[in-house]
């Protein structure tokens, strides 16, 4: 009778072995997959028990805080945004009901205090509950307010004719890549999205207020694109400021006649004159001389054809570039002359985000070096130790220092005596380029742009501003004043 007993014991051990096998499957091998199951509410609930870090602007204004609901060990923390709509973009929101977006998403690990395994064990031994780090953004609250106010009044002035019209403003510190202001209109109040009804209303609302236009929306950049073309021409040696080209109107570009604004013929002019007066036919011919490959090469150096290297959720950024009517980025087969002046056709149309165009201005301002854009000034753990700090990183050398200096001088001429001569920045000399993308020539509907940096000789700030629609208007009078007001506030 003993042999069967031993065999039964073996079967029992086999059974227990299967229990160990399955336990290790759930606890270790399949654990990550289980944690990501939509049915699993644990991560959401646990995160609610962690006091999420505060978000402040660089000048100390509280943008987001977590307030406890309930008391004792069972409290949960709920997000509050004291400034309301002002930082709805680019900060976003974080609520258990509607998940999280924008900076609340991209800096989530810092904000909930995700640490490495070793520190977690030390904290457990010390019985320190998990707590998020406080972060300071590079954004300046005053510049943000001025950008938002300027944008909203420009949008309000045009929303009668164009319901749901919006706009975007971005200000970047050229030598660090720090984003000092980023405004999107129309906006929304992040405190309201916790209500799921309000959230679904906002999702389908006219003007898409939940879209962060500066990073997510790409538009025809109009004549601001000529800065990219000029940079490519100067840096490749194709042109100098004094290169003379005949700029009569119309000119055949890719076999189709191209007009200057108002059909004006300029005769033989230099590059400086052509940028100062934003002459289409001149820059379209430069684009054709450069050819598609060189043009695309320089666009890529400026950061086109990829998401900006910003610490921001990938699905809330869009790449700029030549984009065909199917919405695909194209690197050849398009009308390079028209793309060079911020236009194009079905086979490829120049489209750029406000962030991208601010980076173009910033690169010229920074002696031809593109810096990685960033929002994060500093992160401090609950003990007050700095765990992350703004560490400017070069993304790319785009053009030589000499080319940048030459281009700066040409862009300064735009504000001295060219299309932007009516604009001023506290009496400081500054460099800029206007843009007026034609959306509908018959109706006179345009998208105004202005990109600039100031002061011209010691650049502190680079800006791009655009409004989606206006009637019979120009970049200098709609987008220009917003950009200069933002620069003024940041130069003080």
């Amino acid at each position: 009778m003993n042999v069967p007993i031993v065999r039964i014991f073996a079967v029992v051990l086999l059974g227990f072995g299967s229990l160990v096998y399955f336990t290790s499957k759930w606890a270790v091998f399949d654990a990550d997959a289980l944690e990501e199951k939509p049915e699993n509410r644990r991560p959401v609930i646990e995160e609610q028990q962690i006091p999420r870090g505060d978000i402040r602007t660089v000048d100390g204004v509280l943008v987001a805080e977590s307030l406890p609901q309930g008391r004792g060990p069972n409290a949960v923390f709920v997000r509050r945004y004291p400034e309301g709509p002002l930082f709805g973009h680019p900060v976003g929101y974080s609520f258990v009901e509607v998940n999280r977006t924008e900076i609340e998403l991209s800096e989530n690990d810092l904000l909930v205090g995700e640490e490495n395994e070793f520190e977690t064990i030390i904290d457990q031994l010390r019985d320190v509950p998990q707590e998020g780090a406080d972060i300071t953004l590079t954004i300046d609250s005053e510049a943000q307010r001025i950008a938002t106010d300027g944008l909203e009044s420009a949008v309000a002035a045009n929303s009668g004719a164009f319901p749901g019209v919006g706009g975007a403003v971005v200000a970047i510190e050229p030598d660090t890549g720090a984003v000092r202001a980023m405004a999107s209109a129309p906006g929304y109040d992040p405190n309201t999205v916790q209500n799921e009804d309000e959230f679904s209303r906002l999702q389908t609302a006219q003007g898409a207020p939940l879209v962060n236009r500066p990073t997510q929306s790409v538009y025809p950049p109009g004549s601001t694109m000529k800065v990219v073309t000029a940079a490519a021409g100067l840096d490749s040696g194709e042109i100098t400021p004094d290169t003379v080209i005949n700029a009569d109107s119309p000119k055949e570009i890719s076999g189709v006649p191209l007009q200057n604004a108002g059909g004006e013929s300029f005769g033989d002019i230099t590059a400086t004159f052509a940028l100062t007066n934003s002459v289409n036919t001149y820059w379209a011919q430069v684009g054709e001389r450069l050819g598609t490959d060189t043009m695309v090469e320089y666009m890529k150096r400026f950061g086109f054809y990829a998401d900006p290297e910003l610490d921001y959720p990938g699905n809330q950024m869009a790449p700029s570039g030549a984009i065909n009517s199917a919405g695909e980025l194209v690197e050849d087969g398009f009308d390079v002359g028209r793309v060079a002046i911020g236009q194009g056709g079905e086979e490829g149309q120049a489209l750029a985000s406000a962030l991208q165009m601010a980076q173009v201005a910033g690169t010229v301002a920074n002696g031809g070096v593109l810096m990685e854009p960033t929002f994060l000034q500093e992160a401090k753990d609950p003990d007050g130790r700095t765990i992350e700090e703004l560490d400017p990183e070069e993304q790319n050398r785009v053009i030589s220092e000499e080319s940048a200096a030459t281009l700066t001088e040409m862009m300064t001429n735009v504000t001295r005596e060219g299309t932007a001569s009516d604009l001023s920045v506290d009496g400081v000399e500054f460099a800029g380029k206007t843009g007026t993308a034609e959306i509908d020539v018959q109706e006179g509907i345009n998208q105004p742009w202005f990109i600039a940096f100031a002061p011209a000789q010691d650049p502190q700030i680079a800006v791009a501003a655009t409004v989606e629609r206006c009637n019979g208007c120009f970049g200098a009078d709609v987008a220009g004043p917003i950009a200069t007001a933002v620069m003024e506030s940041l130069l003080e």
């Binding site: 009778m1 003993n2 042999v3 069967p4 007993i5 031993v6 065999r7 039964i8 014991f9 029992v12 051990l13 059974g15 227990f16 299967s18 229990l19 160990v20 399955f22 336990t23 290790s24 759930w26 606890a27 270790v28 399949d30 654990a31 990550d32 289980l34 944690e35 199951k37 049915e39 699993n40 509410r41 644990r42 609930i45 646990e46 609610q48 028990q49 609901q69 309930g70 004792g72 060990p73 069972n74 409290a75 949960v76 457990q124 019985d127």
Partner: protein, 454 residues
Amino acid sequence: MSARTRELFALIPVAILLVAGFTAVFVVRSDEIGDLSLIYGGYFLALCLAAHILLRIRLPNADPYLFPLCALLAAVGLVVLYRIDDALAGKQATVFLLGLVLFALTIIFLRDYHVLERYRYLIALGSIGLLMAPLLPGIGGQATNGAYLSLDFGPLSFQPAELAKIGVVIFLASYLAERRELLSVAARRIAGVTIPPLKHFGPLLVVWGAAMVMLVFIRDLGSSLMFFGAFLAVLYVATARISYVLAGAALFVFGAAFFSSTVPHVQDRVDIWLDPFAANAPEGAGQLQQSLFAQADGGLFGTGLGESLLRLPGPFFPESCTDGFPFCGSILPEPHTDFIYAVIVAELGLFGGCALILIYALIAARGFKTAVMAPDGFSKLLAAGLTAVFALQAFVIIGGVTKVIPLTGVTLPFVSYGGSSVVANLILIALLLLVSDRARRPQPTGSPGSPVVS
């Protein structure tokens, strides 16, 4: 060193584990639980010492490790219950007092356990009666998760299956000890298969029928698997014929498959087991999902005692929860009974879970060793049967919680909260110790065939 001294030393780790566990839980949750509740641990240790003294007096030769291993399980259970709700740990410690009284009574009044053989039919009838009692109106309890498993006497609730499993094993051991010659000596062989005389095999078919009836009326696959598994184990030890076991297992699988497709509750359990994340999974799939999620939280080493998410915080706590945590408002349902293993894996990790399974394996080893050493057929069958039913119970509930088999409502022996389980399993261990004491008693010198096994 005598067996009892080894037992005393083996209780030291129990005391250490209990003290360390209670301290850890208290440190983590001191803002929620009073320091008075720390005495539950001391209370339990005193009971263990009392049981040890009783064994020293009455069963000096019994296996030295069985009782400390069970005490270790109980200590783990108390610590985890203390973490879930300190009041539960207090009640559980009180239940151990009752359980150890019955443990003592069994040892004192059943010195010669062979008397049980005389009452085997009475015991069998009583067991079946106990099993069917939950179906009676009046004392019959509510269906828990669709199964009829408990009797309610006012505030007290009793799970008769816990006690019935011992009765069934006693009956089977006694019946088969007597008939095993007849069953194993082949009467006829048809196509190479040994067919025992129907006269002797009849009562065993009744046992199979009873398991099926349980499946249909009590609607619990786990209990019926536990009972039938124990039956097959005892049958195999008695006859050493694997063909009987295979035939029995085939019958059970066939019957279970048939009834699970006709009894809706059992069908649901099987569907949930096959795919707990199916879009159209039956109601109750959430329980198993939560069990897996809790284990996933644990990882290798667990979150630490008291550190995993159990009580739903703040606004997540359901307003309808009037019974109070842990009876509702827990992310993992029934954390103190059915799903206590998931709590252990969540907080002590894969290592904690494996350590617990190892303790059950060691108890099984000591139990089967007792069976091997036992001097006579009835003792062997009784020890093997009791050990098998105990190990199967642990397998059925851990297997249910880890999705090895469909989930059913049996308790995790000595660890789950609940009086009937603790009381019944302490009686089971008392019987094993009785067999063990007889088996290991030094024989008068010169008597042949005395086993010399330590």
